[in-house]
């Protein structure tokens, strides 16, 4: 029983990271029906830039700088990879361009930070706290709180500020939003900035708990795909539940079956959800007007 509780606890921390990346997919999918296949690389760059900065300053001072860097990286992806492809109906263009930017980022990161995995110094004590026999790392608590905080911040922004409402309006109906004087192109760029920013943030959150390196992003970005589909690409809260389900499924599979198979339940869940409820567990299937 203790073991299971422990597994669930680590699954929650992992799941929140997935949820945070998947949340980034939702942000851009809502405004432009596109998403960044290099989201994992945005996370990786955030973590590595954070690692370099942390050599010169404290973790807390580094955080805002990484967020700014993440936003800038998102703008680059949108301007080079997404904007020119939006005019065509086909998905082929933006999928290919975001993937090619992803492999370029990965390659550049390898050339700057090397091929080896690095350790990211933890800003919080590494002694686990024990609650009812479950060992919890302070960093894990920070992951959960940090992820919830940024999602909440975006939600409040969308509901309360006129700019946030403009983002929601663009997601609802891009043409009609344009008629309101909203520069929808700018909204899409902004959503990419926000999306990469959350990924970079996820990167510096998870980095102290895992190894940091050029290859760390790919698998995380991929898991977040599963989470986004399981939860629903258009359902805000779905990603949290989806993330938790996947995180816990992985830690328990890893323990009870074999660590080698821990990635399998994600794919199976993904295929299962698509079979039973293609819009995702919490997604609303939209009736398209013809």
């Amino acid at each position: 029983m203790d073991v299971l509780a422990q597994l669930i606890e680590s699954g929650i921390a992992l799941g929140m990271i997935y949820a945070l990346i998947a949340f980034g997919y939702q942000l851009t999918f809502a405004t432009s029906n596109t998403l960044n296949f290099g989201q994992g690389e945005a996370l990786m760059l955030g973590a590595l830039v954070g690692l370099t900065l942390v050599g010169h300053m404290s973790y807390w001072l580094m955080l805002p700088l990484v967020l700014v860097f993440g936003a800038f990286q998102g703008v680059v992806v949108e301007r080079i990879g997404v904007l020119p492809t939006l005019k065509t109906k086909s998905e082929f263009g933006w999928i290919m361009t975001t993937i090619s930017l992803a492999i370029i980022f990965k390659n550049v990161a390898e050339n700057i930070w090397g091929h080896d995995d690095l350790t990211f110094p933890s800003p919080l004590p590494q002694e686990p706290l024990v609650f009812f026999g479950v060992r919890v790392l302070p960093m894990e608590i920070m992951i959960v709180l940090g992820a919830l905080a940024i999602m909440l911040a975006v939600e409040i922004f969308n509901r309360k500020s006129i700019y946030g409402k403009a983002v929601v309006a663009t997601a609802n109906d891009r043409d009609a939003a344009g008629l309101m004087g909203i520069n929808t192109g700018l909204v899409i760029t902004f959503s990419y900035a926000l999306s990469s920013m959350t990924a970079a943030f996820a990167g510096v959150l998870i980095a102290p708990l895992t190894l940091t390196g050029a290859t760390m992003g790919a698998v995380l970005g991929l898991k977040a795909f599963s989470v986004a589909i399981i939860g629903g690409l258009n359902s805000g809260m779905g990603v949290i539940v989806g993330g938790l389900i996947l995180g816990i499924a992985e830690t328990t599979t890893g323990y009870y079956i074999s660590t080698g198979y821990k990635d399998v339940p994600g794919l199976l869940l993904l295929l299962l959800v698509l079979t039973i409820k293609p819009a995702g567990m919490f997604g609303k299937s939209v009736i398209k007007k013809v």
């Binding site: 006129i162 700019y163 409402k165 403009a166 929601v168 309006a169 997601a171 609802n172 109906d173 043409d175 009609a176 939003a177 344009g178 008629l179 309101m180 004087g181 909203i182 520069n183 929808t184 192109g185």
Partner: protein, 240 residues
Amino acid sequence: MLRINNLHAAYGKVEVLHGISVEVPQGKVVTLIGSNGAGKTTTMRAISGMIKPVSGSISLNGKDITGMSSSKIARAGLAHSPEGRRVFATLSVTDNLLLGAFPRLTFGRERGDVPGDLVRVFDLFPRLKERETQLAGTLSGGEQQMLAMGRALMLNPAVLLLDEPSMGLAPLLVAEVFRIIRELKARGITMLLVEQFAAAALEVADYGYVMENGRISVHGPAGQLKNDPAVREAYLGAAH
């Protein structure tokens, strides 16, 4: 106020507007009538920048707005209440209305009295006031139409385009929509109106244009068009 000169527009390769010239003078209501597929909605979409015109020119208040993006055209003072209403379904009624005033609220430059305008729109559409916190997607068709019109008014526009405001509405609501259009006219708002109910549209308008297959076939003062036998035959007596 709004001047459209020899406008050509196309969807893909198929040209659907073959040289439209329309003029909407300050403070007047001009209506565009014609059968389905004649190109009325396309004309509206080309004016507000939803599609790029192939050639021709559009000017607002003497300023050339041809080929500008719809957001820039809105900022220049043209509001468009589009066909099919297109309200923001997941936002509340109030938020929809505030977004109508988006250019007046952003960059810290509040131009004019937005809260006051909100009150005035609610006065004009009391039904919306009752539902101010409700999500727009849950409104009935008539209420959504009111919202779309109210939202366009929130821009405080120099020219208001209304595309088929009566579409899909019950007769009582159609009457209500026309009452509001008359009210707006009394307030001196310049309007370009596309309507399927040609008779009612000519009743409220000062001037009318009849469209046929992407061209203007007849135009003239509304009273004159109403009595034009050809127009009567084609558009006014549909069910007779």
